[in-house]
Every structure is written in structure tokens, then in C-alpha cells.
């Protein structure tokens, strides 16, 4: 029984959350530093996982398994494959930046009772989310995954509904109503998805008698567990629905713009860069592995939906007047790419999709956090309220530009690698879809550059004339992310090497092989 590394990685932030929440009301700064330290320590653990993980080795490594709820056939089973490692690392990496970026977002505005501790709550909730997300990445037991997949909604819900932008163009009253609407919408969408999934989870239990992913996959492969085609399809739909809400996939996406628009930028990053990844990750891990046949059956529809998400999200991003909502729709478009890559059923597509999850996390974090700094300065989310910022705050504008360029996946920056892999992977199997999806890169250029032009260039607006440039703390948030974007754009090999074996496994689970080139090229 070696040291339970995976559990520790999740337990640390969980404990940290409790500790942070327990910090007395007056000691706000202590809570912040505590949370930051914990998140950094968690990152160290995640790094250890990444190091200890052997790409060539067993499919699930660092596994832990303990009896939990015998009657439900549930075991506390953890284990990571390459994909999980990448995403755990991403999560642990982003949280410190989220905390640092949200340093002042939760300083109490109104005086509640002396026991009212918004700041402590804010950071505790962030850590709680981290713990649950990490566990859902690590769980190899469907039930364990489901529990944390659902439970993470609650802290997220409080983060969205409880903490908004400092100043709001419609005033605080309207802001709080919009916030709680967004929060409720987020929760109900995802809860509905989760409950539908619950039915499927129960159905799976009735079929398989236990929840252990490896066992079920093995049993299905060996034929000892047979499912009727219709059953498998229903179960698949039950699972996929929940993940499609989370991801989000058109037409289940409408909660995302509200949530990201109303939440503070760090929380928005938490939603789109971390929490939503669980959805796409789960498609890759659970939908494909548990229900290979049904996945193939559903592929055409899903590909079309993903395609719609790509184009639709991009077009709506063009039409937005609110910076954060714009980023939200951009994310919808990107999630379309990820899902496209997953269900293209080619190793390029799936490796690309996994890389895409990581890169999209980083790039969106960069763009959204800078946007948050911008908004916190001017107190408005409306694009029209800005102009000429580049002249007064060149560094801010520069980082914002790099974030935008990453969003339009400029070659040399990380997202390009993943996006191109996804496109190639799709193209090799479905040329038409691949070509239409390529339109997305033009639209991406359109909405990002329009955003940059309207906010940063042109004559300086009076309201932004006094705007200060990035502070040290903010630079500390943005600079590493940008460095990472460039590094992973130039040298993605480390991540790719971790991911590839897992993808190969998944491909074999769904009995798929890459289409081979027509001509054997002269080497």
C-alpha cells in the first residue's frame, strides 16, 4: 500500500477549503494566503503525479481501491491515465492563477453580520471545486465520478450567484438578480443533466452489477457482459446528455453565457477552463469506453451538433456586445471543436481534443483574466464603453492581444496545435465536416480581432484615459500563462507523449483504426 497520491491531491484542497472557511472574519488576508499556498501545494502534488506517471506503463496508474458502499456495488477506486494526468495537472495549474486573479474580488461590499465572511467563503469554495474536479478526473468508478460530478455544482453555484463584478453597468440591484438567475440556470441545467444521468447510472448498475470502469470495460470486451443494443443506446444517451450539458454542446449551451457573463472573471475561468472540461473528459472516458457501439451509432448526430456549436458559437460571439459573453460564446465554439475531435474517432482527433482541453483552459484563462482586469478598471462589461486602451495601458493591451491570438489559435501558440489536430483528425474520416469546421478559424479571427479593435485601438475614450496598466500581481497571473501558451505551441511533445497511449487505448476500446493514406509517400 503505497502513499495514496491521488487521494492526497484531492484531499489537500478539500482540507484547505475547510481551513480557509474557518479563518475568522477579520483575518481576510490570512485566508487568501492560506488558499494560495494550498493551491500551490496541490500543484506540486499534481506535478508529482505527472512525473510518477509512466506513459508506456499500465493503462491506469497510481490506482487506489477501497470498499465504500457495498450495497451499491461502489468502491472508492481512483486511477489516472494520460488524459486524466493532463487534466489534473491543468486544474492544479490554473487554480493558483484563479485565486491570485480573484484576490480582491470577494472583499466584502456591504456590511452583513459580523459572522458574514464572503472572502473566506469565496476562496474556500474555489478550493472545494478544485478538490471535486480533481476527484472526478481521477475516479475510475462510475458512481464515485458521478458523486463528485454532481456535488461540484453546489460550490460552483455559490461562486456564480454569490460573487459578481465590483461595479455593474445596471447597478447592484439588477446585478444581483441577474446573478442569481444565472446561478439558478447553471444549477438547474446541470442538475437536470445529472439526474438524467443518474437514471442511466442506475441502469448501468442493473446491467453490470458494479460500477468499476475497468471491470465493466473488460467484461464488455470479453463478452461476459452483454447489453442489448437498445439498452446500450439508452444508457449512452443518459450519460451523454449530462456531459453535453456540462460541455456545453448546442443546443444545451445557453446557461454558459449567463454564468460566465455574471460571474467574476476568475470564476468564469473556473467554469469554462476547469469545470466544463469534466464534461468533455467524461465523454472520452465514459461514453466511448462503456458504450462503444452506441457511441458509433450516435456519432453522426453528435458530429453535426458539434459542427453547429462551432459555427453558431462563433457567429454569436461576433454578435455580442458584452466582453465576457463574447468569450463565453467563443468557448462554446471551442467546445464544439473538442467534441468534434472526440467523436471523429481518429487518434489525431482524440489526441487533439485532449490537447485542446488543456490549451483551451490556458488560453481562455489568459484572455478572460485579462478581460477581468480590464473590466475591474472601467466597471463595465460593454465593449462599446472602451476604446484606445492600447495607448494608456500598453502591457494590458499586449497581453490581451496575445490572449486573443491564442483564442483564434494562431500558429506558434498552443491552441493551434490542438485545433489543427482536431481538424485533420476529423477531415481524414469526414472531409466535408472538416472543411466546414475550418470556417471556424476565420470566424474566430473575426470576433477576436473585432473585440481587440473596439476595445484597445482607436482614439482614447475619456473614461479610460486614467486607466492604470497591469499591476505586479496581475502580471504574475498573466505572464506565466502566456509563457505556457508559447511553450506548448512550440513544444507540445511532453503533453502529447503522456496523452497518446491513453488515446490509443480508447481507440481500441471503440474498435476504431485510423484511415490510411491513399498513396504511400516516398520517404
Amino acid at each position: 500500500m503505497s502513499f495514496p497520491l491521488l487521494t492526497a491531491t484531492a484531499a489537500l484542497p478539500a482540507v484547505g477549503a475547510l481551513a480557509t472557511a474557518a479563518v475568522p472574519a477579520a483575518r481576510r488576508t490570512t485566508a487568501k494566503w492560506l488558499a494560495l499556498t494550498v493551491s500551490l501545494a496541490t500543484f506540486v502534488l499534481a506535478a508529482v503525479i505527472a512525473v510518477r506517471f509512466e506513459p508506456g506503463g499500465a493503462r491506469y496508474q497510481l490506482t487506489e481501491s477501497h470498499a465504500w458502499i457495498k450495497d451499491f456495488g461502489v468502491r472508492y477506486e481512483l486511477g489516472v491515465d494520460g488524459i486524466a494526468v493532463a487534466l489534473v495537472a491543468l486544474t492544479a495549474l490554473l487554480i493558483p492563477f484563479v485565486i491570485l486573479a480573484g484576490w480582491h474580488d470577494a472583499d466584502p461590499m456591504e456590511t452583513g453580520s459580523r459572522r458574514w465572511r464572503p472572502t473566506q467563503g469565496f476562496f474556500a469554495l474555489i478550493l472545494a471545486v478544485e478538490a471535486m474536479v480533481i476527484l472526478s478526473f481521477e475516479a475510475t468508478d462510475v458512481f464515485v465520478f458521478y458523486i463528485f460530478f454532481e456535488a461540484m455544482l453546489i460550490p460552483m453555484y455559490f461562486l456564480i450567484g454569490g460573487f459578481g463584478d465590483r461595479a455593474h453597468e445596471h447597478g447592484e440591484k439588477a446585478a444581483s438578480t441577474q446573478r442569481s438567475y444565472a446561478a439558478v440556470k447553471f444549477l438547474l441545467y446541470n442538475l437536470a443533466g445529472g439526474l438524467i444521468m443518474l437514471a442511466a447510472v442506475i441502469g448501468l448498475y442493473v446491467q453490470a452489477g458494479n460500477f468499476s470502469l475497468p471491470e465493466i470495460v473488460q467484461a464488455r470486451a470479453s463478452g461476459s457482459l452483454h447489453m442489448a443494443t437498445s439498452t446500450e443506446r439508452w444508457l449512452f444517451l443518459g450519460f451523454f446528455f449530462a456531459f453535453a450539458v456540462k460541455a456545453p454542446l448546442w443546443p444545451l449551451h445557453t446557461w454558459l453565457p449567463n454564468a460566465m457573463g455574471e460571474a467574476t472573471a476568475p470564476v468564469a475561468v473556473l467554469i469554462t477552463a476547469v469545470v466544463d472540461k469534466v464534461g468533455t473528459f467524461a465523454m472520452l472516458r465514459f461514453c466511448l469506453q462503456l458504450f462503444p457501439e452506441a457511441s458509433k451509432w450516435a456519432t453522426p448526430v453528435i458530429l453535426v451538433l458539434a459542427l453547429i456549436s462551432i459555427i453558431y458559437g462563433a457567429l454569436l460571439a461576433v454578435g455580442q456586445r458584452d466582453i465576457k459573453r463574447l468569450v463565453a460564446y467563443a468557448s462554446i465554439s471551442h467546445f464544439g471543436f473538442i467534441i468534434l475531435g472526440i467523436f471523429a474517432m481518429t487518434s489525431q482527433g482524440q489526441s487533439g481534443a485532449t490537447l485542446y482541453m488543456v490549451n483551451h483552459g490556458i488560453s481562455t484563462a489568459a484572455l478572460m483574466l485579462v478581460a477581468g482586469f480590464l473590466i475591474s478598471r472601467r466597471g463595465s462589461r460593454l465593449i462599446a464603453d472602451y476604446g484606445g486602451v492600447q495607448k494608456v495601458a500598453p502591457v494590458l493591451a499586449g497581453t490581451f492581444l496575445i490572449g486573443s491570438l491564442a483564442t483564434l489559435s494562431l500558429p506558434g501558440l498552443a491552441p493551434f496545435v490542438s485545433e489543427f489536430l482536431v481538424l485533420v483528425g476529423t477531415f481524414t474520416r469526414h472531409p466535408a465536416i472538416g472543411i466546414i469546421a475550418t470556417l471556424g478559424i476565420v470566424l474566430a479571427a473575426l470576433y477576436t480581432l473585432v473585440l481587440y479593435q473596439r476595445t484597445m485601438t482607436g482614439p482614447v475614450k475619456a473614461e479610460v484615459a486614467e486607466m492604470p496598466d497591469l499591476r505586479v500581481r496581475e502580471l504574475l497571473v498573466v505572464a506565466p500563462l502566456i509563457a505556457l501558451l508559447i511553450f506548448l505551441g512550440v513544444y507540445p511533445k511532453p503533453v502529447a507523449d503522456i496523452v497518446n497511449p491513453a488515446v490509443r487505448q480508447t481507440m481500441s476500446d471503440v474498435h476504431q483504426t485510423d484511415p490510411q493514406p491513399k498513396v504511400e509517400a516516398a520517404k
Partner: protein
């Protein structure tokens, strides 16, 4: 005619009276019930002889001791194997001592104990004329606002009868799920109903509503029990006996000696079906299943909140226990007749409760409708007709009762000038005013909503799983849909508490005595423990899931 003949016109020779043999009663195995009833009687005596000042303490003491002792007895019996191996039918076939009855009795006793704590709370209401007062009327007999009431308040009267009444109710509830013949069932039903009717009428504030609740509950309850009784009559007519075992045999057609009369009635299925339906209806009334639920919101709202909490928890447990035994022991033979009906009831109950709850504006009514919806979920487990079904229902009941008592206990804390502030609008911003109370209540709401890591989720999962294994997949789907609907209004309350601005004249959260704190604390603890590590209790439930017959 001869004199003898004439004599014989108005007299006849009686048979010599045969020897009357005394019934054999296993006092040890009935000890929980006996203890509670005995304590109740003592309580009555206390009302008669103990001076007014010290009654309260005496009553609380007696009740707590009795309930604790009874619980200890239950544990002892269970440990003694009466739940599993030595399970048998006691008291000449009147009462079953087996797993389900012991499990449910234990649950009821704990619920009763927490109920006593909330009953005994005297820190919430401001002192009247220097006397600490609980949530019961000073003098139930005196009309609201009348001189006599004022006098009673001034004199510092309190209705300490509440405690014996609670004990009587608990006593009835203990018998109810273990009743093994229809007569005992009926008597137990009345024994625990009548005290509840009274308790509902005892509120200190808003007495009009309290009395109205009481009268509604009483009339409808009596109406329902009349139906039950008629059902019993028909079933008796069908089987010629009220003992579960015999009826079951007759239903299965495995009865040993069939005399012509029995053969005649056995042929008549209408008796069986109509009778069974009417009895079941009486029980569905108690568990507040649609369409027999309409008393629930009014009574829950009007009754004193501690009573509501106790009632909501314990009554459901007892009634579902009785329902399980009836369906699993008496009527398994006609499973194919009642399952579809129960399907229909479960569906309308789940959906009806969830949907109507959406537009509620009073927290107590909201919880009432939520309890209706939960009755629907539990019914889904009842329908499974498997051992898993039984154990899941037992588990769900245990989990649910603690959440309920805890939730209502929190409701008693939120007060303004007019007593408890139950209107939802007054709860706005509670999370800002007193985060702790709001957080605790949020935990209970999340448990009601069945969010993972709370007991509510474990219970819901167990029940749905059992139903699915029983082949009731559609029921499960409808169940998850209605729990999605239900989630909406639980979330609404949370939004209200945390995300909306507090009102200036909003209510405050009173600081309760350790009694209520215990009730709430136990509630939270059980909610989380059963949510995170339910295995032990699931084992308990599954061990206790075999009926003796």
C-alpha cells in the same frame, strides 16, 4: 302444553362455560411499546398530581428517559437476534417482532426523542410575565384572545400535556408497523392519530390556524380511518379472519381447512380487492400520497412547528412500515393487482408534490409538499417488491426523518415579532444575517433535493436502484424528472437565503437552548454520515429487511 315446554319458550339451557385459558404475552419483546405507553400513563398522573411549576421538568424527564429506555430495549432486542433469526410473532399473533418492526421502532423512538427536545424548547419565545414559555398554548381550552387565556398566560400556565400525548402517539406508532392483524392495525392507527389531532391544536401563537389545522386533520383522519375500517371489515369477510397470516394464506389459496362459508366468500374477489384498496387508502392518507394528501399542507402549516416536525417524520415512518407489512405479508398473492395501482399513485404523488411545491410561499407548506413528493419516491421503493426494496425504504425513512426534524427545528428559530416568520419572503438574505443557520438549513434542503454526499442522495439512489431492479425503469425516469423539478424550489429557498438582499425589518434567528441545538446537530450529523458513509446503515437495513409471517 307442558310447563317444561312453556318454560322452554323463554329460557334455554346454557352450555357449561368452558375453561378460559390466559393469553401468552412476551412482555420482554413488547417492552419498547410497554415502556412508552407506561411512561405516557405516568405522564397523565403527573398532570394530575405534580404541582404546576415542576410539571414541565418531570414530563421532560419522564419522556426522555422512557424513549431512551425504549430505544435501548429495541437495540437489545435487535442485538438478541429478534430482528433476524429469532424473529417471530408475539402476543398471540397480534404483533410481529422482526427486522422491519424493530428498525422502524428504533427510528420512531429516535424521532420521538428529538421531537421531545423540540417540544421542550423554551428559549425561543420571549418570556411572558417572567415565565419561560414553549411553543404550546398556555391553556388550550381557553378561547384565543379571551380573558381566561390572558389569565392563563399571566399565571404562566403551559400545556405540559403535550408530552404524554407525544408518548401516546409514539406508543401507537410503535405498534402500527409491527401490527400483525388488522384489528391491532386499526387500534394502533387510532392510538397514534388521536393524540396528534390534539397536538395540532396546541399552538401558542396563531391559534386560529392551529385549531383549524386540528379540525381538518381530525375530520379527514376520521373519515380515512372509517374507510380503513370498512376495508378491514371486507377483508375479514373475505378471509374469515383478521390475522395477516391467515388472510395471506387465503389470498394465496393455501389455506388448510376450508369450511363452506369461507369457500363461499373466498370465491368473491370483489371483497378482497375492494377491502384491500380501502385499507391501503387509509395508509396512503397517513403517508400523504396524492390524492389523499390535501390535509398535509394545511396541517403542517397550522400545527405548532415542533409537532409538525415530529409528525412529518414519525407518522411517515410508521405508516410506511404498516404499508410495507400489509403489501409484503398480506397481499403478496395479489401483487399483480396492486402494483399497477401503486405505480399510478407513486407517479402522481412524485409529480404532484414537486409541481405544486414550486409556487409555495410559506416555508412550512413548502416542506409539506416536499414531504408529499418524498412519499412518492418511497412508494417507488415499495413497488419494487424485493428485499432490496424493503431495505431501501427502511433506509430512506431513517434518513428522511432526521432531515425533516432538523429542518423544522431550524424553522422554529427564524422568528420576528409575530412568532415564527414562515413566509418565504421574510427569509430573504438570511444567509447574510446568520450564515450558520442558513448553511445548516441549506444542508437539509440539499439533502431533500438529493444532492450527492447527503443522506438524501443515498436514500434516493437506494430506492431508485431497487425500483430499477424490480423492473420499474419508467418509474425511475419519472422519479429523476420530478426530483429535477423538486430541486428547483429547494434551490429557490437557497437563492433567497444567500443571494437576495436582507430586508431591514426581516426576522432574526433566535439562539435556542441545547435541546433544539441537539435536535439540529443530530439532524445534520446523520444527514452527512448517511451521505458519506452509508454502508453500515445500509447493512442494518438489509439485515432488517425480512418480514416474519
Amino acid at each position: 302444553m307442558s310447563t317444561a315446554a312453556v318454560h322452554s319458550l323463554w329460557t334455554t339451557a346454557a352450555d357449561p362455560i368452558s375453561k378460559f385459558q390466559a393469553p401468552k404475552i412476551e412482555y420482554g419483546q413488547l417492552s419498547p411499546t410497554l415502556i412508552v405507553i407506561g411512561a405516557a400513563l405516568v405522564g397523565v398522573l403527573i398532570e394530575a398530581f405534580v404541582p404546576r411549576k415542576s410539571r414541565y421538568y418531570a414530563q421532560v424527564f419522564i419522556s426522555v428517559v422512557a424513549l431512551a429506555a425504549a430505544f435501548a430495549a429495541v437495540v437489545a432486542l435487535a442485538a438478541g437476534g429478534y430482528g433476524t433469526t429469532k424473529a417471530h410473532i408475539a402476543a398471540m399473533g397480534a404483533l410481529a417482532v422482526d427486522g422491519p418492526s424493530l428498525f422502524l421502532q428504533g427510528t420512531i423512538l429516535l424521532a420521538g426523542l428529538l421531537g421531545v427536545f423540540t417540544f421542550a424548547e423554551r428559549r425561543l419565545d420571549p418570556e411572558a410575565h417572567g415565565n419561560r414559555v414553549d411553543s404550546f398554548a398556555a391553556q388550550a381550552a381557553s378561547a384565543p384572545g379571551s380573558e381566561s387565556e390572558k389569565a392563563a398566560v399571566k399565571a404562566g400556565f403551559t400545556t405540559t400535556e403535550a408530552f404524554p400525548l407525544l408518548l401516546f402517539a409514539v406508543g401507537g406508532m410503535l405498534v402500527f408497523p409491527s401490527a400483525n392483524d388488522l384489528l391491532t392495525l386499526f387500534v394502533a392507527l387510532e392510538v397514534f392519530s388521536l393524540p396528534l389531532y390534539l397536538l395540532c391544536a396546541l399552538a401558542r401563537r396563531k391559534r386560529l390556524m392551529s385549531q383549524e389545522a386540528s379540525v381538518k386533520y381530525f375530520l379527514l383522519g376520521a373519515f380515512a380511518s372509517a374507510f380503513t375500517l370498512f376495508g378491514i371489515a371486507l377483508l375479514y369477510g373475505y378471509a374469515g379472519s383478521v390475522s395477516y397470516a391467515t388472510i395471506a394464506q387465503v389470498v394465496d389459496g393455501t389455506v388448510a381447512n376450508v369450511d363452506p362459508a369461507l369457500a363461499n366468500t373466498m370465491g368473491n374477489d370483489a371483497l378482497l380487492l375492494v377491502g384491500a384498496a380501502m385499507i391501503v387508502m387509509g395508509l396512503l392518507f397517513k403517508v400523504a400520497a396524492v390524492p389523499f394528501h390535501m390535509w398535509t399542507p394545511d396541517v403542517y402549516q397550522g400545527a405548532p412547528t415542533p409537532v409538525t416536525g415530529f409528525m412529518a417524520a414519525a407518522t411517515k415512518v410508521a405508516a410506511f412500515g404498516a404499508l410495507l407489512r400489509l403489501l409484503y405479508v398480506v397481499l403478496p398473492g395479489m401483487r399483480w393487482d396492486w402494483r399497477p395501482v401503486m405505480w399510478a399513485v407513486a407517479i402522481v404523488t412524485m409529480l404532484g408534490g414537486a409541481i405544486v411545491a414550486i409556487t409555495q410561499t410559506d416555508i412550512k407548506r413548502l416542506l409539506a409538499y416536499s414531504s408529499i413528493a418524498h412519499a412518492g419516491f418511497i412508494l417507488a421503493g415499495v413497488i419494487a417488491t424485493t428485499q432490496n426494496g424493503v431495505s431501501s425504504v427502511l433506509f430512506y425513512l431513517a434518513a428522511y426523518s432526521f432531515v425533516t426534524i432538523g429542518a423544522f427545528a431550524v424553522v422554529t428559530l427564524v422568528r420576528d415579532a409575530g412568532g415564527e416568520a414562515t413566509h418565504l419572503s421574510k427569509w430573504a438574505g438570511l444567509g447574510r444575517r446568520s450564515p450558520l443557520a442558513a448553511a445548516v438549513f441549506a444542508v437539509f434542503l440539499l439533502a431533500f433535493a438529493g444532492i450527492p454526499l447527503t443522506s438524501g442522495f443515498a436514500g434516493k439512489f437506494a430506492v431508485f436502484k431497487a425500483a430499477a431492479e424490480g423492473g420499474a425503469i419508467p418509474l425511475v425516469v419519472i422519479g429523476v424528472i420530478s426530483s429535477a423539478i423538486a430541486a428547483f424550489f429547494y434551490i429557490r429557498v437557497i437563492v433567497l437565503m444567500f443571494f437576495s438582499e436582507p430586508r431591514p425589518e426581516g426576522p432574526t434567528v433566535a439562539v435556542p437552548s441545547p435541546l433544539t441545538l441537539t435536535a439540529i446537530g443530530v439532524g445534520v450529523a446523520v444527514t452527512l454520515v448517511l451521505g458519506v458513509a452509508p454502508q453500515y446503515f445500509l447493512d442494518l437495513a438489509s439485515q432488517a429487511s425480512v418480514f416474519v409471517r
